[in-house]
């Protein structure tokens, strides 16, 4: 196997994993309490939400990846950005419609439970908060934090997909299946591997968060460095596994 390709796989998988971890720390997740309007954020689990957003991005990124004949730095950036925008759009719509449900379905004003004043819009939060709750809805600071987080997570997921598709599981590796099937197996293998590495990093970061987080203004965000170190190690191990798998699939020789 080409050592430069192996190095590229390793670096991009680590970068993708770190971006996934950063993204998970930035999206506002309230878990089960948010479904009762008892905590700020989106009413579902961290991993599931980030995974859903990243997979939406991966869908568009995989379409965009077919636009390019050969891999190039420009193609890599455009595919990764397509994935980032896809994930960002998924989370933006979800947060906006969740807020519409809070406002019109439950009569609740979106407020933060962790800060007294919204750091971006400077709107006071405490007077609007229901006592004995940890905030409710998705306030503007959490919305913008989630927007950026989904963008970064989607970028990481699509980046991993592009590199794995072109360097770890290229269609030439499955040539005996015929051109059409080889292309499909190559894309599917890269998609599954990218999603798998992404979810491993997201789960590690979710442990660090411990259930709920409001975004970059939440005190829990300060725990980020520990998660980044763990995710770098896990991503590096995943990258090594992929390099070994690719090396084995290609018969132990060059791809």
């Amino acid at each position: 196997m080409d050592p430069i390709a192996a190095l590229l796989i390793l670096v991009c998988v680590i970068v993708g994993g770190l971006l996934a971890s950063l993204g998970v720390h930035m999206i506002p997740v309230g878990g089960a309490p948010a479904a009762m309007g008892t905590a700020t954020g989106i009413a579902t689990g961290t991993v599931q939400l980030m995974f859903g957003a990243a997979l939406t991005g991966l869908f568009t990124a995989s379409t965009v990846a077919t636009f390019f004949e050969t891999p190039s730095p420009l193609a890599l950036v455009l595919v990764a950005l397509s994935g980032a925008v896809g994930a960002m759009l998924m989370l933006s719509f979800t947060m906006l419609f969740a807020n519409m449900l809070y406002v019109f379905g439950a009569g609740v004003v979106p407020v933060s439970g962790r800060v007294e004043v919204d750091p971006i819009t400077k709107e006071p939060q405490t007077p609007y908060k229901t006592p004995q709750t940890d905030g409710h809805g998705v306030p503007n600071v959490s919305y913008i934090s989630g927007w950026i987080g989904a963008f970064l997570g989607g970028f990481g997921g699509a980046l991993m997909y592009f590199v794995l598709k072109n360097y770890a599981f290229p269609a030439s590796l499955f040539a005996e299946l015929g051109a059409a099937d080889a292309e499909m197996v190559s894309a599917a293998a890269a998609g599954i591997a990218a999603a798998g590495i992404f979810v491993a990093n997201a789960i590690l970061s979710a442990y660090n968060i411990g259930g709920t987080i409001e975004g970059f203004h939440d005190p829990k965000f300060k725990r980020l460095p520990k998660a980044l170190i763990s995710c770098a190690v896990v991503s590096a191990l995943c990258g090594l596994c992929i390099i070994i798998a690719t090396w084995g699939l290609s018969g132990g020789g060059g791809v």
Partner: protein, 327 residues
């Protein structure tokens, strides 16, 4: 002509996405699948014996992913068997049989998990004197499966249309690179995470605590003390789904529909603007780069518009509802 067909198919996919997520939320309300089920679970422990269906197989994304991927995998295998039986250009007829059979396989799994989850969870609460009502159990299984069938069916159709988008619209290069099961996996996870994040709020914040004051987040002291009485008689999930279907479900369906619509729309507009669809549809990196860049730019514009939409919504709510009053 193929472009009109392509846009028509994309609109059909967006409509199917709306229906899929609508029924996903309705199914999660019928079976008490997701986050608000923590209160159903807690109710018996705080002395609130109830007649709710207690089904939380797993998080909604994972369970929907399981049904969709199973359905798509079975449909895919059947399609590979059936398609050679039809003449060239009429292979789509194979899908008429393969997709419902695949979805049926996924829903059999759903039925098994709904049964074991409810019986297991309720049996585990016998120490809190929570009875297992057999009429509740039997009466909810069919609504759960039928709602689940609609979701899985729509997701499988979306995956089928996307995997064969090019063939169906006469531009073969537009077939999605992912195989049918992987597309089912992706949209199963996504439909579940949207249904869980959006639709649950109407059930959890409003319907589950309807005898508590409206217009405030539900305080921690209320947790577990769910509303157990319906407009007439004792409340079951059937009363809940009838309420949530008026607002929570349509809004949830709209979320997924809008995501799919704008994701496809920006990609196809990028292809048109970048000249990718007009260069004889061979892979062309320069036109592809332009197509991708335009798609990204459109997506960013939509994303920024959504931020302003949220700013407006939050400001409107603060002005209209005012600060918290009460104790």
């Amino acid at each position: 002509m193929p472009l009109e067909v392509l846009f028509g198919l994309l609109l059909l996919i967006a409509f199917l996405a709306f229906v899929a997520c609508f029924f996903e939320d309705a199914e999660s309300d019928t079976g008490s699948q997701s986050n608000p089920n923590s209160q159903v679970q807690l109710a018996a422990q705080v002395g609130y014996v109830h007649r709710f269906f207690n089904k939380a197989i797993s998080g909604e994304p994972l369970s929907n992913c399981m049904y969709s991927t199973t359905a798509c995998t079975v449909a895919w295998v059947l399609l590979r068997q059936f398609e050679p039986m039809f003449p060239a250009g009429e292979q789509w007829k194979a899908a008429i049989l393969a997709i419902p059979l695949g979805v049926l396989a996924g829903e059999i799994l759903h039925l098994i998990f709904a049964t074991t989850a409810h019986l297991g969870r309720t049996a585990g609460q016998s120490r809190f004197q929570q009875p297992l009502y057999l009429d509740v159990f039997y009466g909810h299984l069919i609504p759960i499966i039928t709602h689940g069938f609609m979701t899985t069916f729509c997701i499988t159709c979306i995956a089928y249309l996307q995997a064969n988008l090019g063939t169906l619209s006469g531009i073969p290069e537009l077939n999605h690179p992912f195989p049918l099961p992987l597309l089912g996996f992706i949209w199963g996870i996504t439909v579940g995470s949207i249904g869980s994040s959006t639709g649950d709020i109407h059930y959890g914040t409003e319907r589950e605590f309807q005898d508590r004051p409206f217009g405030e987040g539900k305080r921690v002291v209320y947790h577990g003390m769910i509303t157990r009485y319906a407009d007439c008689g004792i409340r079951t999930q059937k009363d809940i789904v009838g309420f949530c279907i008026k607002y929570g479900c349509p809004l949830t369906g709209m979320t997924f529909g809008m995501i799919i619509l704008f994701e496809n729309w920006r990609t196809v507009l990028g292809m048109l603007g970048g000249g990718y669809l007009t260069t004889n549809l061979t892979v062309n990196s320069a036109a592809g780069a332009a197509a991708a860049a335009i798609g990204i730019a459109i997506g960013l514009i939509i994303g920024i518009a959504l931020i302003f939409g949220n700013l407006y919504l939050v400001r409107w709510a603060r002005k209209r509802y005012g600060p918290f009053v009460g104790e």
